[in-house]
């Protein structure tokens, strides 16, 4: 990655951090710059501490990086916590009326704004935010008109007076900085590209819309609620029925009902809600009704840390619902992949009539990333599998919903069609749907039905692309990750390469099917293998071992609620290659 520029804005919840965040994001993306943004926050509506990082570059920004080039503390707390993250050449813009500057390292600029002398703070409580934005963009070499046009858009709904007040304030900040502060060494670049800036949750929701989802239901739960919000706001335009349900048990069962009636149905939750959906997944598998459930992981167990990220639900998802049944589980690699994965997984679950689980996490769900709008393809391939939706051939006296086939897949007729009347069941049943539990129990039939369903596993494995090694083949170290750690591991590899350590990467997207043989083939040639994951016990490492017998040389794990920064991985690789340890647990340097 070439030059990047990271802005950090921090304060108490309710101090208006979101607005400057949105404004910076718009200015950057409209300059043709990539950005990656993440808000570290607490489960509190007013007060507490919130810290928004926006990192931008002319090239893709795969992680939030390690440092802050421009810090805008809206309160003393933020100054005290985050000043140490300022990079060489960086600056801190602050309200000198209310905030005492800390002592930064050499080569960092403290930019004091005497806010009460610049604005009427009795009228505008967030004047410091607007002044700081003006000052920041001036120092970054961005023309004032970019800020002005976004402010007009942002505040337009509140009337001309509010727009004018904010534009005037921003100009005061802009001009003050031009006179009083040193500009950054490199002005922000500009390209002709234009990007969309979805959050992961918006990408998941739009991915559902693109996949042809017609029924979405949910119970609010952080960090998945953004999916519900997008669906609720856009469902009517997209022809999607969106329902808020009484609990996640109701959610999964309502989705199953809609799916049985013949539409694609999706729901999203977090670990706690997913736990309640477990029995429903079994119903989906047994009755062979395809649904997609998204689990946006947060730090657990129990209520856990509702606003912090973790990859701690893998074994919950692997073990969800009792009994053996076919299913697919995939973890999106980044925010664009949140979009791309949904139509893909729907095609698999429709073809194999089983549940599909998307294992996202707070880092992606609530993060934001620039995406080339051309990649948001709303016409992806849609394969509904062997679904009978019209009666073209009259009466089908021989129709059997659970007909035993070589593939394990039986043609699925939707209710309402004449000639295909049948019953589906959560009880074990015969090919015609008649229960064989209770008094009809028949060991031969039970075995045949179990084997019929489980035969789908072979087809599923062939339907899904196996993982591939990224980077040079003969590398000193192979980093193995899954899901959302893709970007930060990629950046860590580049840093390592700059330091003379070649690193490649095996990033797992499909957890089930895992393609264990392919993974073993790849890892057989690796010199030093390290599994990187955002949880305590090495859930993926334990899973990989259980499926393949593979044991890596070392582990890098983090379970403090915050995502990895690239240097965490770089430093851990150094210590592991030096033989100091086989388990690195990097410390997150700032309390957020």
């Amino acid at each position: 990655m070439s030059q990047t520029f990271a802005i950090g804005i921090g304060g108490a919840a309710g101090q208006g951090i979101a607005t400057p965040g949105d404004i910076f994001a718009k200015i950057f993306s409209r300059r043709g710059l990539h950005l990656n943004a993440y808000n570290a926050y607490q489960s509190i509506i007013r007060g507490g501490h919130t810290f928004l990082t926006i990192r931008t570059s002319a090239e893709e920004v795969t992680s939030l990086g390690d440092g802050i080039d421009l810090l805008i503390p809206l309160n003393q707390d933020t100054m005290d916590r985050h000043l140490r993250l300022l990079t060489a050449g960086g600056a801190c813009i602050f309200n000198s009326d209310t905030i005492h500057p800390g002592t930064p390292a050499d080569g960092r600029q403290l930019c004091a704004l005497p806010v009460s002398k610049m604005a009427d703070i009795s009228r505008n409580k967030v004047a410091q935010n607007t002044l700081a934005m003006g000052a920041a963009l001036s120092m970054a070499g961005v023309g004032f008109e970019s800020l002005e046009s976004v402010l007009v858009e942002q505040f337009g709904r509140k009337g001309e007076a509010v727009v004018k007040e904010n534009v005037d304030l921003a100009r005061v900040g802009y001009e003050y900085a031009a006179t009083n502060f040193q500009p950054f060494r490199e002005p922000l670049p500009k390209t002709e590209n234009r990007y969309a800036v979805p959050s992961g949750n918006i990408a998941l929701a739009m991915g559902g819309a693109a996949a042809g989802v017609k029924f979405y239901c949910a119970y609010p739960m952080s960090p998945s609620t953004g999916v519900l919000h997008w669906m609720a706001a856009h469902g009517r335009a997209a022809g999607i029925m969106v329902r808020q349900v009484e609990d996640e048990i109701g959610v999964v069962n309502m989705a199953i009902g809609a799916a049985h009636a013949g539409v694609r149905a999706m729901c999203a939750t977090s670990g706690g809600g997913f736990a309640l959906m477990s029995e429903g997944l079994g119903l989906s598998a047994m009755a062979e009704i395809p649904i997609v459930v998204i689990d946006c992981q947060r730090a657990g167990p129990s209520t856990g840390v509702p606003t912090k990220t973790e990859q701690g639900d893998l074994w919950q998802v692997l073990g969800a619902a009792f009994g053996d049944y076919p299913r697919v589980i995939a973890a999106p690699l980044d925010i664009l992949d949140c979009f791309t994965l949904i139509p893909e997984i729907f095609n698999v679950v429709d073809r194999f009539q089983c549940p599909g689980i998307v294992l996202c996490d707070l880092l992606l769900s609530e993060g934001r990333l620039t995406v080339d709008p051309k990649l948001l393809d709303f016409n992806p391939p849609i394969d509904r599998g062997e679904l009978i939706t019209s009666n073209s051939a009259g009466v089908h006296d021989d129709y059997m919903r659970y007909k035993i086939t070589e593939s394990g897949v039986s043609p699925r007729a939707i209710p309402g069609l004449p000639g295909y009347v049948h019953v589906v069941s959560s009880d074990e049943h015969d090919e015609d749907g008649v229960l064989i539990s209770d008094e009809y129990t028949n060991t031969t039939k039970r075995r045949a039905m179990m084997e019929k369903r489980m035969r789908k596993v072979t087809g599923i494995e062939a339907a899904v692309v196996p993982p591939m090694l990224q980077g040079p083949h003969d590398a000193a170290v192979t980093l193995i990750g899954w899901g959302s750690t893709d970007g930060v591991i990629r950046e860590a590899r580049m840093r390592l390469a700059q330091q003379g350590i070649t690193a490649n990467q095996l990033q797992i997207r499909w957890l089930v099917p895992l393609h264990g043989e392919v993974i073993l083939d790849i890892l057989r040639g690796a010199r030093h293998t390290i599994i990187v994951e955002n949880n305590y016990s090495g859930q993926f490492a334990r899973y990989l071992r259980s499926e393949t017998g593979f044991v890596p040389h070392g582990h890098i794990r983090k379970y403090d609620g915050e995502p990895f920064m690239p240097h965490h991985i770089v430093e851990a690789v150094h210590e592991q290659l030096a033989g100091t340890t086989t388990l690195s647990v990097p410390t997150h340097e700032v309390m957020v």
């Binding site: 029924f215 335009a237 022809g239 539409v263 029995e279 948001l376 849609i382 309402g416 019953v423 589906v424």
Partner: protein, 298 residues
């Protein structure tokens, strides 16, 4: 979606006979409910492929296997959310939900309340035998105080739930009670419940001849009094319905307690269904709408 290609023909009781015969105990009240549902569908001439019968788990929840309509035998207590999903995805279907008192008022009580306040257009028939049968005789949410069961051998000390009062307070727009021993009356109530546009709740006294020796046919017969026989009773009066719902003892009212027709059913209140059932809609989103979605993010 489906169009009937065969010439419409009279639907007969034989068309509704399930693939297997009911395995309920001889004398079980559920036989009477099954017969009444079949008779009602024939009377109303609703083709069996237009009907989806959805149940939870329990003796009475085996119902979908014993009737020849589309059927779903779901999880214990979860029939109503599944049925809500079916109805919202294809509101042209006639949705019947069947189950017992444990399924509906015990494990499924939360869904029961919310399905009623949502006014989902379906008929929910609870075969209420005031006992858990399939698990061989434990106390249910409607077991009387003092009733001795395997789970409360010294007598039930928990006040039973009143399904009719609960339904009235939760906003059900059709609330009725039937008795398996009163076939004609029960069939009429089922027909009305199917025709009502909204959530129809029908609690049916369906005696368990094996495990409930308190609430037997003999116990109910002299007590049940049809509301329809009381010329002064007005089933549009909610307050009156609540008062009648509290009667329990020497006289127990059965019949239609309440009906209102001024509340739109859930599917009718949601504009996304104005264009027709979801299952008949386009999978692809129009390009101008897609453009607006992406534009918001630029």
């Amino acid at each position: 979606m489906a169009t009937d290609i065969a010439a419409p023909r009279q639907m007969m009781l034989a068309d509704l006979k399930g693939r297997v015969d009911p395995d309920w105990c001889p004398g079980c009240g559920d036989f009477g409910v099954l017969a009444a549902v079949q008779k009602a569908l024939v009377d109303l001439q609703i083709p069996n492929h237009r009907v989806c019968t959805i149940s939870g788990i329990g003796c009475s929840s085996n119902f979908p296997g014993f009737i020849n309509t589309y059927g779903m035998h779901t999880l214990h207590g979860r029939s109503l959310p599944v049925a809500t999903g079916v109805k919202l995805a294809n509101h042209k279907l006639t949705v019947l939900v069947t189950g017992g008192d444990g399924d509906g008022f015990g494990i499924g009580a939360g869904h029961f309340v919310h399905a009623m306040r949502r006014n989902v257009d379906l008929l929910y028939i609870v075969m209420d035998n005031q006992i858990y049968g399939l698990t061989t005789g434990q106390t249910s949410p409607t077991s009387r105080l003092g009733m001795k069961t395997k789970s409360m051998p010294f007598g039930n000390i928990e006040t039973p739930l009143n399904p009719i009062t609960l339904a009235l307070s939760a906003g059900a727009t059709f609330v009725a009670r039937g008795f398996s021993g009163e076939q004609k009356h029960l069939t009429e109530l089922i027909k009305q419940g199917i025709q009502h546009k909204g959530f129809s709740f029908l609690d049916v006294f369906s005696p368990c001849v094996t495990y409930n020796h308190d609430n037997t046919y003999q116990w109910f017969r002299p007590r049940v009094k049809k509301l329809e026989d009381d010329a002064a009773y007005d089933a549009t009066d909610w307050t009156e319905a609540v008062e009648r719902s509290l009667l329990w003892g020497e006289e127990i009212p059965i019949g239609k307690f309440f009906e209102r027709t001024d509340v739109p059913a859930l599917h009718a209140a949601e504009p996304v269904l104005d264009a027709g059932p979801l299952v008949e809609g386009n999978t692809r989103i129009p390009p101008d709408v897609v453009h607006s979605f992406i534009d918001e993010l630029m």
